[in-house]
Symmetry: C2
Subunit: 456 residues, 2 copies
């Protein structure tokens, strides 16, 4: 994994915008380049660069496309790999939620690697003792914590059945804390007088990366486990918004949107938003026809296997909504007596997600864009030919996933009676009875329960 492609701006000094206002005067880390702030990031085309570690498939492609101009060749490569990624995503969906969790995990590690490598180069930390080892160790410790939490949340009862795993379930937080503390002690012991500043800077760098990558990819995993639709729809929305904003901007773009990304226009922004909303509604409507997409992953005790079947949550069942007065009046004029409309609640929720994907989502991209400029790099890596690093494709996805996670747990997730019963079952027998009695008393007190419970 030593391959890295920090194409410091030196390489991309073509296409400058005449702005030589570089960061030379900053007191922060200095990379000795006479770099200028290009606006490369917003160009869908990037100059291809012969690189030792380019993947073989792209070598073959390079060969096949060698007669095209570099600009067109890159259009082609980028286009082909866009489809490769979309296809790969579809295959993943076919293989189901656990495959998706594993791939999220792998991508997360790659994103971490990309960002850490940038820190490693920016701060020229080649001779820092233990820095890489410690970074990877912290990644391990935080993943142990977060993924453990997810797994215990969903499969706790199942995992606790295995003798070997039970202590890991019971003492998960304590073990995680011990792992992390060991890393902290290791960091303190690795401090070397002449490197203090570098070491603390990189400690901060590692932790911000963990905060950004591990916590947010953990939200993706949780979304997957709540039902494939909670990942599939938002991921597609971001892709749709990217493409449509580019198209609208290309054809109608006049008014610049934000200084950070001079290629972005208001026309692209608004066109992208509308397209995303419509696309989101259609996609949502199609997907929620299938149980496979709407059911959370659960462990079926009777079949002793993971199940993708469920009793549908209310958001995936058609509901009657009262029409607003104005629309009702309009229908009356047309001679239609319609006072309610039948919609899947999820379709309405998809509009909220579309709005976030197209209004706030791009700020994830602007943030990444600013970050790359701050450290004078063009891409986070060169993992995907024509696209850059994994982080270049994931910048908006992370923020979106966090939004969906928070949205889901605030507005959709209902405290599942089944989960509560499961929690009670993890208590000692006498406590289980205590809960039962207290509950009986409370419910009787509230008049919900009398001695003949069956009558309710």
């Amino acid at each position: 994994m030593s391959a890295l492609s920090l194409d410091l701006r030196q390489r991309t000094s073509q296409n400058t915008h005449g702005n030589e206002n570089t960061d030379k005067q900053t007191t922060g880390p200095s990379i000795q380049t006479s770099a200028s702030d290009t606006d490369e990031d917003d160009l869908p085309v990037k100059p291809s660069k012969p690189m030792a570690n380019q993947t073989q498939s792209s070598d073959v492609l390079d060969n096949a496309l060698k007669d095209l101009s570099p600009r067109w060749r890159n259009w082609m490569i980028r286009g082909i790999f866009t489809w490769v990624m979309i296809l790969g995503f579809a295959v993943l969906i076919y293989f189901g939620p656990l495959a998706l969790v594993l791939v999220t995990f792998a991508l997360q590690i790659k994103c971490f690697h990309e960002i850490i490598t940038i820190g490693y180069i920016v701060y020229r930390s080649y001779d820092l003792p233990w820095f890489r080892t410690l970074s990877w160790y912290f990644l391990f410790a935080s993943n142990f914590f977060f993924f453990g939490e997810s797994m215990i949340g969903y499969f706790g009862v199942l995992l606790a059945r295995t003798d070997f795993l039970r202590p890991f379930v019971t003492y998960h937080r304590f073990i995680s804390f011990s792992l992390y503390t060991a890393g902290l002690v290791g960091f303190v012991c690795s401090l070397v007088k002449k490197h203090y500043l570098k070491q603390f800077t990189l400690f901060g760098w590692t932790h911000v990366t963990l905060l950004l990558v591990v916590t947010q990819s953990h939200f993706i995993v949780q979304n997957v486990l709540e039902g494939l639709v909670w990942v599939l729809v938002p991921v597609s929305m971001i892709i749709c918004n990217d493409i449509m904003a580019y198209m609208f901007g290309f054809f109608f773009g006049r008014t610049p949107l934000i200084k950070l990304s001079p290629k972005k226009t208001w026309e692209g922004f608004i066109g992208g938003a509308f397209s995303t909303i419509i696309f989101g509604i259609i996609l949502s409507y199609c997907l929620i026809q299938y149980d496979y997409f709407v059911c959370p992953v659960s462990y079926d005790e009777s079949k002793e296997s993971l199940s993708m079947e469920c009793e549908r949550s209310h958001v995936f069942l058609v509901s009657q909504y009262a029409l607003p007065e104005t629309i009702r009046a309009f229908f009356k004029l047309l001679g239609i007596q319609k006072t309610t409309v039948s919609i899947y609640p999820f379709v309405l929720h998809s509009i909220a997600m579309s709005i976030f994907a197209s209004v706030i989502g791009p700020f994830g991209g602007f943030f990444a864009s600013g970050f790359k400029r701050a450290f004078k790099i063009k891409d986070f890596g060169d993992t995907i030919p024509g696209h850059g690093g994994i982080m270049d494709r994931f910048d908006c996805q992370f923020l979106m996933a966090t939004f969906v996670h928070v949205y889901y747990s605030s507005f959709i997730k209902v405290l599942n009676p089944q989960n509560i019963v499961q929690t009670v079952m993890m208590l000692k027998p006498e406590q289980q009875l205590q809960v039962f009695m207290m509950l009986r008393d409370k419910l009787t007190q509230r008049g919900l329960l009398d001695n003949t419970t069956a009558s309710i």
Copy 2:
């Protein structure tokens, strides 16, 4: 709050250890001082410095002590303020848990201020647009999230009764996320081309500070709410360990312990550990005699007020422990037929806490020490005369609080039947009944329940 005392090492160039191996060659932020790495941090004596913003009480003191040599004057000031702090802590305990929560909150804000101010100076960010505003905004947003979570966890049912507060309880995470996202958007919008690098560096700085200060002070608050003893004992342990390690080191210290703090010795380390264990046992034994210290804060529905009474948790009730075989044999030799011993479990747990306080706790201090050296500052501030900033006194307390929190939730906290019933009561009536029925079926199935429940 503009007062700050970043006594860059220029001022403390006396007492150097002849090591001129400075960080000049690093690529990180450079403060133009010909500073040398002194080992001041470990000296209990610090040169007093006339400062405009010194508190009035300390001015009076300075005057009263003006005939003493600077060294002795500082010993006195430091000693007096040690007692002022211990007394203040005792008064706080008297005023009860809510006062302690409020003070934790205030101290947390001060710690944040101290660390942010260092970043502000180190990176010379005087002309950065919005940096301070954004930092404080992120502090507000993350406190809103964390303290909200605590309050909802403990007083959710109570808070949800007030019409005004109910939406804040129900949508707390969504509101927090929106607040944070607004900050992120604000940050992206505040980016200015020539300051990218500084702005991202300070963004990272702010977030690491939040991670360190807000999350950990949030753990202190949770410990307070679980019972005063969970704060009182660990805080005292750290203080005891500091003092005793210093005393043992002073009288018996020979073998250096760690390069980072050349004044620390193995003798001090071991002596401190033993003293802390014994001190912890005695203090624990004394405190747990009173309900005031062992009861969690709870809302008494019948009295409609906060209550400090409770049915004691099992860790605060005397238990019989079987003696190990060897000790039993030893007792037999003495003619004593003793096979069990009666101890409060909490006293045993206090030993685990003492060990952490004296073995791992100091690493919190080493970490802070290294941080101060990395950025060439002597103290985090000058809030407490003779001691430095609040952070200088809190470095180990934070790590300790996190340990206690994790320890408590892993080994002590039992899923409280009362809490589960409370959770059920927040469901819709028909779901409450559903839980009841499912529970009844499960318990009957397991043979824990038959029709005559009273017989169990």
